[in-house]
């Protein structure tokens, strides 16, 4: 897959403070998560890619275009949903999105049409003529998403899109992001400190800490690997005999307390064979998880590394 973003020794300093330290990475996923604690440099990275901050050294490329030399072209490919409230409160929702679409280069009639579409798409069709200042927090978030997609960008930056949303609104926002991702027309960069949001929406994760890349993992590969990794909880029979029977089938096993057993299945072995063996051994399988390292595990490991590098 073609790289979406290439970070090539990207360094950003504000005065004497170094915010991003010579970042090097190639991000290729359809949906890329940016994780990190507060002050890790997530927003600075997004702002730099948007051209708001000039790199002190190094550069970055978006779809192969250098952000230093082709800033305008790069921005024509982007949609941006900022973290903070960003709107013009005295404007109606649809007029605001239309303005933003026109500034992105859409002719007025197309901009108006797409502003209406975007508002219906994010579920604000009924309130699109109301002033933005009267919107609830969830509606403002959705309006921000509408302005970010109205002009049909190739890459969408979402900075904390679920900030301040109640559970139903959050779910709706996550569903929208997943829907946009699954259509495959545009790539996503999702910056969040909520691991669950990233886990649900992203297939690649870049974890930042103190301006360094603390970890970079392909969640899709992790998920694939997890399919061969099982954690089961058993009851009845003799655990040792069951584990031996599984080893005979080619599994790696580790026995835990209270009937817990960790297994790595060999290629070709199906889960239903495991149930068959359990039945033969008179063992009840009470719980079965396909799980190795969760994103939380990966994140915590990255945070434990002293210098922010794994």
């Amino acid at each position: 897959m073609d790289p979406v973003i290439e970070l090539d020794g990207l360094e950003v300093r504000f005065g004497t403070r170094t915010i991003l330290r010579k970042l090097k990475a190639t991000l290729t996923g359809r949906s890329i998560g940016l994780l990190g604690p507060n002050g890790a440099g997530k927003s600075t990275l997004i702002n730099t890619l948007l051209g708001f901050h000039k790199p002190t050294s190094g550069t970055a490329r978006i779809f192969g275009k250098d952000i230093r030399t082709h800033a305008r072209e790069v921005r024509s490919l982007l949609g941006y949903m900022p973290e903070n409230d960003s709107y013009i409160s005295s404007m109606s929702g649809v007029r605001f999105v239309r303005l933003m679409a026109e500034l992105a280069g859409l002719p007025p009639e197309h901009a108006l049409e797409r502003a209406h579409e975007a508002f219906f798409y994010v579920g604000l069709g009924e309130v699109r003529y109301r002033n933005l200042g009267t919107y609830s927090l969830g509606m403002k978030q959705a309006a921000k998403l509408a302005q970010a997609i109205a002009h049909g960008p190739k890459l969408l930056f979402l900075d904390e899109p679920t900030n301040g949303l109640d559970p139903p609104a959050r779910l709706r926002m996550i569903q929208l992001i997943q829907e946009i991702r699954d259509r495959g027309d545009l790539r996503l960069i999702l910056s969040s400190h909520l691991l669950r949001d990233v886990e649900e929406c992203c297939d690649e994760v870049l974890i930042l800490k103190d301006g360094n890349i603390a970890a970079f993992c392909n969640l899709e590969e992790e998920r694939r690997a997890n399919r061969r990794f099982l954690e089961i909880e058993t009851r009845g029979g003799v655990n040792g005999a069951f584990a031996e029977a599984m080893e005979k089938l080619g599994c790696e096993t580790a026995t835990g307390a209270q009937g817990r057993l960790k297994l790595v299945l060999p290629d070709g072995l199906e889960v239903r064979q495991l149930y068959q063996v359990a039945s033969d051994q008179n063992v009840q399988i009470r719980r079965l998880n396909h799980k190795r390292d969760s994103l939380e595990d990966i994140f915590l490991k990255a945070m434990e590394a002293a210098d922010g590098r794994l």
Binding site: F14, G15, R17, S43, N47, L50, G51, F52, H53, R72, E73, R75, S76, L78, G79, Y80, P82, N84, D85, S86, Y87, I88, S89, S90, R95, L99, M100, E102, L103, A104, G105, L106, P107, H110, R114, H116, E117, F120, Y121, G125, Q147, I149, H151, G152, K154, F157, E179, I180, R183, D185, L186
Partner: protein, 301 residues
């Protein structure tokens, strides 16, 4: 695509030329301004003086009209000359100052107060285009109040004089009107935007705009009085621009010391290069103020 489908789709249609994209901002702003009754009335009222001036010009050249009014020799009293056009520009420029003070503060401050700048600048749209777009609103309105009616009056006078000779002989009036207005417009627009960028509360920004002109002029006069000098006029923007107009109109400084409201006392005139430098410096300060504030993201060092 119909809205009922409610799905995302990419855009692959034509784009507008990037060179004229900044005009989107004034188009939206004018739509908003039309809703303000006060501004509409004020703007229309600003054409009363040009209408009166055009009447003067017409009457001066129309003997029957003068006879009708019973003032057959009044045409000797009406002089369409440098003073007439300088005063016209002075009046209209003062109205332009009021317009800038009313409309200018509402340009940048709402975008800053609502953090909307990041949305503007995340698009293929630069800071310069943003400022140009915002300035364009003021430039168009103030042009319609100053040099456009000024040049129309000039053409009317030229037409009634029945010949190119007058037009040719007085071309400095037209060029002075045009360039003098533009300088004033640029100063007002830059100052209004700079104050709007730094003072987020609109009434305060408007008041500050008047303050820069009138309070600073008073401060300059106080310096002149106390120090027995003339350099206090450097704080008096209207006096500075008045001196520049006199030069641009090609007027005799002994006879004309500026337009209405924009005069520098004849015996306290500053060297012209000082006036130009002070006005240039003011513009640079405004540009610096705008450059500091018009950013996609605030940098906390």
């Amino acid at each position: 695509m119909a809205v009922y489908k409610k799905t995302y789709r990419p855009y692959d249609g034509a784009l507008t030329p990037s060179a004229t994209r900044f005009l989107v901002i004034p188009r939206f702003a004018f739509e908003d301004m039309r809703k303000s009754r006060f501004l509409t009335i004020f703007f229309l009222a600003s054409f009363i003086y040009p209408l009166i001036c055009s009447l003067f010009i017409y009457v001066k050249h129309n003997a029957s009209a003068l006879n009708l009014l019973g003032v057959a020799n009044a045409n000797n009293l009406i002089s369409i000359n440098t003073t007439f056009f300088l005063n016209f520009l002075g009046w209209q420029s003062m109205l332009a100052l009021f317009l800038a003070a009313f409309t200018g503060p509402g340009q940048v401050s709402p975008d800053l107060a609502n953090n909307a700048l990041s949305l503007y600048l995340a698009r293929p749209f630069s800071r310069v285009e943003y400022v140009l777009g915002k300035m364009w609103i003021l430039i168009v309105l103030m042009s319609l109040m100053t040099w456009v009616p000024g040049l129309l009056l000039f053409l009317l006078e030229a037409y009634l004089q029945e010949g190119w000779t007058w037009m040719h002989d007085n071309s400095s009036l037209a060029s002075g009107m045009f360039f003098g207005s533009w300088i004033w417009i640029l100063i007002l627009a830059l100052l209004a935007l700079a104050l709007s960028a730094w003072v987020k509360w609109k009434p305060a920004a408007g008041a500050l705009m008047f303050g820069v002109f009138f309070v600073a002029a008073g401060f300059g006069a106080a310096i002149n009085g106390v120090q027995r000098t003339k350099w206090g006029h450097l704080f008096n923007i209207s006096a500075l621009i008045g001196s520049v107009w006199v030069q641009l109109f090609g007027a005799d400084p002994q006879v004309n010391n500026g337009g209405a409201f924009f005069r520098m006392p004849a015996d306290e005139r500053l060297p012209l290069w000082c006036c130009w430098t002070a006005l240039g410096g003011l513009c640079l300060v405004c540009l610096y103020m705008l450059a500091r504030k018009i950013r996609g993201a605030e940098v906390i060092r």
